[in-house]
Symmetry: C2
Subunit: 359 residues, 2 copies
């Protein structure tokens, strides 16, 4: 294990030296042709629900069946995709899979970059968001007078001011950090990505967790990646069914520190990478304490997993000399540098182990 | 004009003979590598709205700015895409851009097929749907007691029974037409695509129309394609700004028959293709009359545009010997045959004219 860590740390330093910390000096790969062996979209999960308040299509019957809790997945596979473990990316609060695509300032997103690095990539819209749809029955029941307004879902919308602060673009609204990596000149394009979050309508456990676990099984093994609201979803998915979960990448969220020994034993069987950006305590207001608290929970979780014999790693970017990263680090100016760190971690902690097992 | 129509009709007959009516006998092209010159996603439109009822992110300020009315667009360009006019596809009610992707039974969708036929393809999620998000302020205002429940939007959800009937899969629920082209064995996968429709929250004119017109300008000319709820959106977009609209493809909707002479003169400058499937009057219940009525309005619209000197064509598939098509004809078993008809129409009515103009 120690050699893995040392190799990763050394190669991180090499990469930082090569590309310059905080900058992408590589040529624009997005201008080269992209060759796919296949692409497409499908759904995972979903249940039929019969109701007389959900279906309001004119001319339809009063009672209708609808499908809820399904998860929309869009994928692309490169020609050599079968040589690597597929990567499933799940976005955070008030966002969609757009998170991983073209950045607000028009650069290549992680979805395409991972494909260009020969990985099959699966983008999932969380259940109750975007192309996965949501269960509208409570809203229609309140409108019809069948339920009180208090039963309406809490529709979570992160406004511009809340996003600037919670995503750590700068200490106060519209004032960026001098070394900030987020392309703040294009922040309006990020604001367009921010859409209402109806997760409060979901049953528990969140169907996205089950669907992520099922997708990993369907793919005969996958690395699950989550961010922010979904940052710990890969761990939750693995607690439901770890059989397809080959690796976990959790980016900037609160970690659970109250797992049972049995749960920690399950976590210890899966390589886990946790990544945090910069300026965790540097924004004014409530979020100035939220991020250091989240970081502390994840530090503790990493220790717990490793104490149980696991391979969990906290990648604290500033400690690697990579400064200025925001919460939206997959869109930051150095996003491809960070992607390389993740790809290297997958190679060494997920795929090298796979080869090792074969011997 | 007559020669254009005759050429189109003859080639349609040739195609039907070649491929067999109602079947795709071509080899599975989706197994060949797909080469893209570029891909990505971006937004068109969007306005900032300040409100104290919309942003409920915990820890955020009481009053927040949010972005509304933006349209999410995902695109792919083939290597030779610049030789053809780009095609913009917009989905219908209670659906997302998933409409155009992998079919419910796992075949290639029009999005990829058009790219393989050397067109740049732009998929737009309608404003207030899927990755475009929606304005949740009324819902949150009602929950907060600031507005009565009667002001809640009418959230349109097409249930399974309503979809089976309105999409014309068969005469009654779960009974398919013997010659039906929809892959009914996979209808559950279609039901997963059906998501709540919040268009009732939109201002008029619908921001999607303006955004489609703006996208066409941004692309220096595009063919706009709509279906069902969005079937007439290309025409609406052209009435707002026709300068980028090189061609219109309207699939299965009601047409406006009350345009002014000025509006019809604007329509007459744009080649227009209208396509309808089979069994328009063959479903029981209300939709048994809706589709024949819609068809009649479009017949009239075609006559009006052509009387104004335009080039509008009604492609009535059964009249061409192509039987059994449902409302979801881009997902029907013969979907690529229908795509070829559209591509040929674009070549002859949009692009041949472009060449002709050059002489």
């Amino acid at each position: 294990m120690i050699t893995f860590f040392r190799a990763a740390a050394l190669s991180v330093l090499a990469l930082v030296t090569l590309t310059g910390a905080g900058q992408n000096s590589r040529p624009d790969e997005s201008k080269k042709p992209l060759v796919l062996s296949s692409q497409g979209s499908f759904f995972v999960g979903g249940e039929t629900k019969t109701t007389n308040t959900q279906a309001t299509a004119p001319g339809g019957p009063a009672q209708n069946d609808v499908t809820v809790n399904q998860m929309y997945v869009q994928y692309q596979s490169p020609l050599t995709g079968s040589q690597h473990v597929p990567v499933v990316m799940v976005h955070g609060c008030c966002l969609s899979s757009k998170t991983w695509e073209t950045t607000p300032d028009g650069r290549m997103g992680w979805n395409e970059y991972f494909v260009r690095r020969n990985r099959s990539v699966y983008l999932a819209d969380q259940v109750a968001r975007a192309r996965s749809g949501f269960d509208a029955s409570v809203i229609n029941a309140v409108k019809a007078g069948q339920a009180p307004p208090s039963q309406l879902p809490n529709v979570l919308v992160a406004g511009h001011q809340a996003a600037w602060s919670s995503f750590r673009f700068g200490p106060t609204y519209n004032t960026p950090f001098p070394d900030g990596q987020f392309p703040v000149q294009a922040v309006d394009e990020l604001y367009k990505q921010m859409i209402p979050d109806l997760n409060s309508t979901l049953p528990m456990p969140n169907p996205t967790w089950k669907n992520m676990a099922a997708l990993a099984v369907q793919l005969h093994g996958a690395v699950l990646m989550g961010h922010s609201e979904s940052g710990f979803f890969p761990e939750e998915a693995a607690l439901i069914d770890a059989s397809g979960v080959r690796g976990i990448i959790s980016i900037e969220m609160a970690c659970t520190t109250t797992m049972t020994p049995q749960q920690l034993a399950a976590m210890a069987k899966i390589p886990i990478l946790i990544m945090f950006g910069d300026h965790l305590g540097d924004v004014q207001g409530r979020f100035g304490s939220v991020w250091p608290e989240n970081f502390a929970t994840c530090q503790k979780f990493v220790q717990q997993v490793n104490s149980a014999g696991g391979d969990a790693q906290m990648m604290d970017l500033p400690k690697l000399g990579i400064k200025g990263n925001s919460h939206m680090l997959m869109q930051d100016k150095n996003n491809l540098q960070l992607a390389d760190l993740i790809l290297e971690w997958i190679d060494q902690h997920v795929e090298a182990k796979k080869s090792a097992r074969r011997h």
